[in-house]
Structure formats: C-alpha cells, structure tokens
Symmetry: C2
Subunit: 230 residues, 2 copies
DNA sequence: TCAAAAGTGTTAAGTTTACACCCATGA
DNA sequence: TCATGGGTGTAAACTTAACACTTTTGA
C-alpha cells in the first residue's frame, strides 16, 4: 500500500528545530541546549527532533516544546524548511524551523535543567551547529514583523503586565529604544488592553498599573477595522 | 555511512509544488496542469515533483519550473511545508510550496502546451487537488505583502512597461482599484524607474511612455534609506 | 469629431515624531 | 529628602486620501 503510487522516489529524514524566545528582565533570550548525539555532540544547538511516522511537523514541534518546557499550546509558527544536501554533516536531513514564544513565568525549570538547556540573550549567542544561526536570523526577522502587526508579543509576558514591561519587550524585540510617550499613546488606543486596579511594585517604588490583553475585545476591534501596530 | 547516526528514524517522500503567477491583459493568472499520475489523475493541480536524492528543494523547484516554462532563474520564494499525514491520499508526502513570478512574454508556449498546462485567472480557479488551494492562498497573501514592500512585481512585467500597466498589475495583485494620480505620484518618487523616450501604443491611441526598472539605482536608493511601498 | 486612455496638482485628514516636566514612593 | 522609575500633552513634519479636467490620437 505504501509504495502504490510513488515508488522509486527518494525518501528523506525530516526534523524540526525550534527557536524558542523567552523574555526576562528586559532581555530577549533563546532556549539552547547542548546536543546529545553525534555529530557535533556537546555543541550548542537549537532544540529539535525527528518527525515520527504518524506525526505532522506541527505535532513534532509541539512534542519537542512540551518535552523541553513542560508547556503545551505555546504560540508557534512555521518559518522555513532547510534542505541543503550537506547542511547536516552526519547524514542528509531536511529540517523545518519553528519559532515559539514562551512566558518565562510558566515553564518547568527543572525540566529545562534536566535537558541541559539554557536561556541565552539573543545578542550574545554562542556558536550554533549547522545552519541553526540562519534559522535564528529568520526567526528574529519574523518575530519582529509579526510582533509589529499582530498581538503575539503578549505570549512573552505574564497574564498581567505593566506598560513599561510591554515597552521594554518591544525594545528588546526591535533592538532599539522607543519613545515612552508615543508608546503609551498607542497603548491607550488599544482598548483591548484592560487596565487593572492593581499595581506591580517590583520595578519601582511608585509601582506601575497592571494590564491584561483581552482577546475578545481585540477581535471586536479588528472586526471594526482596527489595525494593530506597535 | 548513510545510517551512521540517525538510524531508526522514519524517512519521508518530499515534493515541491509551484504556484506560478503570470500577468497578462490586466489579469493575474496561475499556471495549472492536469495531473498525470494516480491518485486524482486528470484533476487540476499545481505543477510539482519529488525532490531527488542529491537536490535541495530550491533546485527541485527550479527544475520543475524550467521543465514547464523553459525558463531559468525565475523569481521564486519558499512559502511553507505542508506535512499533514493524509494530505495526499496516495501515500504520505510532505510538500514544500514555492511561488514563482513569470513574465508571460518569455515563457515557452509550446512546452506549456505539451505539459497540458493552462493559465487560469486567480479569481476563477478550478478545484485543485489535495491542499493545493491552501497553497495558493498562502502564495497570494505572500505575493501581496512582498509586492507592497519590495520591487518583485517587475518580474511579472516585460523589461519595458508603462505606468498604466504597472498600476493594473498592482490592482490585480491587491484585487482592488487604486487612484491613478496617487499611484503616479509614488512612481515619480522612484527614480530607479527610468522613463524612456519610447511609447507603447498597444493600450491606447495616444500611447504611454515606457519605463524600465533599474536595479542598480534601486539598490543605491535603498542604501540611502529609501523604502519601497506600492 | 469623438471616444478612449494618458497624464497632471492641490487640499484636507490623519499619522508620526520629537520633546520636558511632575508624581509617588521606599530607602 | 531624594533617587528612581511612572505617568502625562502638544505642535511640527510628514504621509495618505480624495478628487476633475486637459491632452493626444486613430478610427
């Protein structure tokens, strides 16, 4: 049955690799780990794994993300397949790159440690195996674009966050400072960002008001012609 | 050698499928063909083919594009891999979608005929096999975005083109009318579009001035901070 | 001579940028 | 009391959108 139609064509190993972004203390980080198998065993690598017989690529990526962070239903997007014949010196493998956004308050720290994984600032990455640095570059560009036009950045923040936190997230994503007053002006136009009574005093003595992202209100706003830009 | 490291993992058939855009007489068209193999033999399909043992996906896509149109070095971009287990009812195949832009003045008409391929208006597509319509949707969105921010549209036009032609191309891509005076104003700011002495009289009695896209000038402009939007 | 497409500018509305001071609080 | 980060508005520059008439020419 399995060779009924397409007999004679070459089959390939296909893996997925994950560019996992996390935001913490004003810095945008990547979750990297020490590769456990040859070739290049022990080198820094993006987390990844082979796609199994009955899995889609998305399922494989979700599985890898879950096994590393303990989290399910992470925000995740396919980026690109890398298919150069010699990209992996061990054997021919095509790899599908995904990027994912993690709220660092949520993940399972012990699991990450067990896996020999570490958060590394995107501006201070170690050398990565194969074409993994290219994958990261594609991911960062995509994240920059996506975060500027869709409310995906909130996946990197806790449920409740302050405006200064949100601003510093965007500064980390874009790699440049943004004007506080102009930023807040834009936030004020987003009435799907609900201001709470509560303040977060962790960042300052005065404390900053907490906000939440309301998905329903966001969808209403979009429906009424609102277009997200930050 | 070939099973040194990754032994035991499942291998997959991997194909590429091409969404080939062509622009002619104010309409944006797709090059489709009648599938020659089972399953779904005879149904409308995107052109595609399996990736061969020593090929990258790009090389496979170039090969398929060349065999169908006689053209090399077409503008081409990877879109997305489709990996759902049952996307192809014949057997499990992962397929990498590429879109390509063809100047319809250039391609080999006989070759297209031989291959049983036909240009079909994007607003009047027949039913396509498998997930090929999804692939088209992704391609159209990407083309819209890309054409609005980078000068890729010129790949759909002959070397020399008129402003009304360029405008009608953009109207076809976006699926909506644009204001003539505002459009020309923007074109005037693009000094990498060189106005020639010649006129094209095919579209009107009066004739419209021909222009060419000058890549060197474009790159200079970009270097000086110009940002393309149309 | 007239139908059909090419070509041309101005104004109002909206968006983006730049910029400086007061407030609240815990140490 | 003071150092630290939170919070606020306005004006100028620029960009976008809307809109109507004249020109050229072959049939």
């Amino acid at each position: 049955m399995n060779v009924k139609y397409y007999r004679g064509n070459t089959k390939f190993l296909v893996s997925i690799d994950c560019i996992i972004f996390g935001f913490s203390e004003g810095e945008l980080n990547l979750l990297l780990f020490r590769r456990k198998i040859e070739p290049a065993k022990g080198s820094w690598s993006l987390p990844g794994g082979f796609i199994k017989e009955h899995e889609s690529a998305e399922e494989a990526a979700s599985r890898v993300l879950h096994s590393l962070t303990g989290l399910k239903n992470l925000y995740m997007e396919q980026l690109k397949v890398f298919t150069e014949e010699n990209r992996d010196p061990g054997e021919r493998v095509m790899s599908i790159a995904y990027y994912a956004l993690v709220n660092v308050a949520d993940y399972d720290h012990d699991l990450v440690l067990e896996n020999n994984a570490h958060w590394r600032n995107i501006n201070d990455l170690p050398e990565l195996i194969f074409d993994h640095h290219d994958m990261f570059q594609v991911a960062l560009e995509r994240l920059r674009h996506k975060a500027s036009t869709e409310p995906v950045g909130f996946n990197l923040l806790p449920e409740k966050f302050t405006v200064p936190q949100l601003q510093s997230l965007y500064e980390a994503i874009y790699g440049q400072r943004v004007d506080k007053r102009n930023f807040r002006k834009k936030v004020r136009t987003m009435n799907f960002l609900e201001k709470l009574e509560e303040k977060d005093k962790s960042g300052s003595k005065r404390g900053a008001y907490l906000y939440t992202f309301n998905k329903e209100l966001y969808e209403q706003a979009i429906h009424l012609g609102f277009s997200f830009t930050l």
